[in-house]
């Protein structure tokens, strides 16, 4: 194998690689022997086929395979020989086009972009603030109220009073449209209707307000035009409704009884659980913020020439993503939007490279167990279907690989954080969430997090 450098320009290199015909011939024959062990040709037992016959029958096919492999191998060798770390898959152009004749040397040129070499900044100089929010009693109380409300009981109203909004009435009903059509589902028995909840056709619940137990009401409604059943959509209908019972919501106390109902020992453990939950949410938010701050620092401290191919690829992918988002919103992507994306693409690539470099220099690797952990965590998100989820992943190993990048990124970030100086700063929860809102905007800042992950996945 012979390698010569044709061009060297910035980050791009152009190499010419020559593989002698003898090497290829040797490889082809070695492959043929292996293939011949299994091949079946009439007149020969498997493994007893003479070379000339094998060559005649399978030569072309094997040659293709061998060429492919030779190109791959020699490419890797050439890169190693020239001490090039490619940024992307090199582009290969065979000299004789696609046709290759046996007995000739294999000559091809490859164009490759090298990874830029750069100095990683002194990580111990990184100084960032970590916003931390305290769990306030007010928030805890709010959460508890919400829990109580969604668990309230309804008790039967003994006194003879009219139904009002917020009550639950138990009704038998029977309805038909004004044209006399009656479908199953338009009548029912002992149905609980919460007045004012808006679960039924508009107008239905309102007309039950003021009715008493034992009363009989004619409810006159029109099905909305976008009703699920086509035959009924937009049609007026009459329902005969018998009111059997009125129940009203009992005020739920936040007490031991509520806690027990929810499976906690007493009110204090319930409270603890709520606090813990909220604290976890906050912790996640602050980590996100911290990470973003860290990435900002890294971004501003590194500047080097970026491989154009990588930037272009990243750029294309975000432009495509944005186009789709715009399309869904019914808008067109403008040139100005596209120009906005350019720096983002560059930033993503730069951060991806920096993180990868730090990871490489410090030998950070993702262990198999960590992957499994992530998968189990993923499976737990689908309660009841864990088995199917796990099965899905075991059948699709390439999906599992997609977990690798974010884990790797997290580990690198963790590593940097151990080196860097992190000062905790207390902020209110509003501050913490407020800026998080910005982050989720599609255009501006969000992509970073995903960026480096994607980079390494490639």
């Amino acid at each position: 194998m012979k390698v010569s450098v044709l061009k060297q320009d910035g980050l791009t290199r152009e190499l010419e690689v020559t593989v002698p015909a003898a090497t290829i011939l040797k490889n082809v024959e070695a492959q043929l022997v292996i293939y011949g062990q299994k091949a079946k040709i009439p007149g020969f037992r498997p493994g007893k086929i003479p070379m000339p016959i094998l060559k005649k029958n399978y030569g072309r096919m094997i040659l293709g395979e061998v060429l492919d492999k030779t190109v791959q191998d020699s490419m890797a060798n050439a890169l190693r020989e020239q001490d090039i770390r490619p940024a992307m898959q090199p582009k290969i152009a065979l000299k004789d086009g696609e046709s290759f004749d046996e007995g000739k040397d294999l000559v091809y040129t490859m164009t490759v972009e090298v990874l830029p070499t750069f100095e990683v900044m002194d990580l111990s100089k990184v100084d960032i603030e970590k916003p931390v929010a305290k769990v306030e009693d007010k928030v805890v109380q709010e959460t508890l109220d919400r829990v109580a409300k969604s668990n309230r009981n309804f008790v039967k109203v003994e006194s003879d009073r009219a139904a009002k909004l917020g009550d639950v009435v138990v009704v038998d009903f029977n309805g038909q449209t004004k044209e006399g059509v009656s479908l199953p589902g338009m009548s029912g028995k002992d149905m609980n209707v919460e007045l004012g909840s808006g679960q039924l056709i508009p107008g239905f619940e309102d007309q039950l307000v003021g009715q008493k137990v034992g009363g009989h009401a004619h409810v006159d409604v029109t099905f909305p035009a976008d009703y699920g059943v086509n035959e009924l959509a937009g049609k007026p209908a009459i329902f005969h409704v018998d009111i059997k019972e009125i129940r009203e919501a009992a005020e739920t106390q936040i007490d031991n009884a509520l806690a027990e109902k929810l499976g906690f020992e007493n009110i204090d453990t319930l409270k603890d659980a709520v606090v813990k939950n909220i604290a976890e949410d906050y912790a996640q938010l602050s980590r996100l913020r911290l990470k973003r701050g860290l990435l900002d620092v890294l971004d501003s401290h590194h500047s080097f020439e970026l491989p154009k191919g990588m930037v272009d690829m990243e750029y294309d992918s975000i432009v495509k993503q944005m186009e789709q988002e715009k399309k869904q919103a019914g808008e067109e992507i403008t040139q100005a939007d596209k120009d906005d994306l350019k720096p983002i693409a560059e930033r993503r690539v730069r951060l991806g490279l920096v993180l990868a470099e730090i990871g490489r220099a410090n030998k950070i690797e993702v262990q198999q167990e960590e992957l499994y952990k992530a998968i189990y965590a993923e499976a737990r998100k689908f309660p009841g279907q864990e088995q199917q989820v796990l099965e899905f992943y075991s059948k699709n190993p390439q999906v599992i690989e997609s977990f690798r990048a974010p884990i790797y990124e997290d580990k690198v970030i963790d590593f940097i954080l151990t080196k860097a100086t992190v000062t905790e700063k207390e902020v209110s929860i509003d501050d913490l969430t407020a800026e998080e809102g910005e982050e989720s905007l599609p255009t501006a800042e969000k992509p970073k997090k995903k960026a480096s992950a994607k980079k390494k996945a490639e």
């Binding site: 007149g43 003479p50 005649k56």
Partner: protein, 106 residues
């Protein structure tokens, strides 16, 4: 006689029918080390015919022709007797150093 040997043999139409096909099997390949080539030939073909055909069509010298007539098996299907066709093979020995590229040409 000497005259006849130098002239190129004339290719006739019949010669093409004398050599049906090459036989490419493990067994036939063993002969190739001794300069032997095997052909399927019609049952009625004779050794001299085969010799002339090979010499004319492949432009080689033949030193010997051996033939094998493999009789077809009798087979019985629902009590009715039947017979498979007979097959004739010709193992042609070429003069030393000469080869015919049959079946194994790339």
């Amino acid at each position: 006689m000497a005259k006849a040997k130098d002239t190129k043999p004339v290719v006739t139409e019949k010669m093409y029918t004398v050599l049906t096909s090459p036989v490419v099997t493990e067994k036939s390949m063993m002969g190739s080390q001794n300069g032997q080539v095997t052909f399927r030939v019609p049952v009625e073909a004779t050794k001299p015919e085969i010799k002339k055909a090979v010499e004319a069509l492949f432009e080689v010298k033949v030193t010997a022709v051996n033939t094998v007539l493999t009789k077809g098996k009798t087979k019985r299907f629902k009590g009715v007797l039947g017979k498979r066709v007979d097959v004739k093979k010709a193992i042609v020995t070429l003069e030393e150093g000469q080869t015919i590229d049959v079946g194994a040409s790339a």
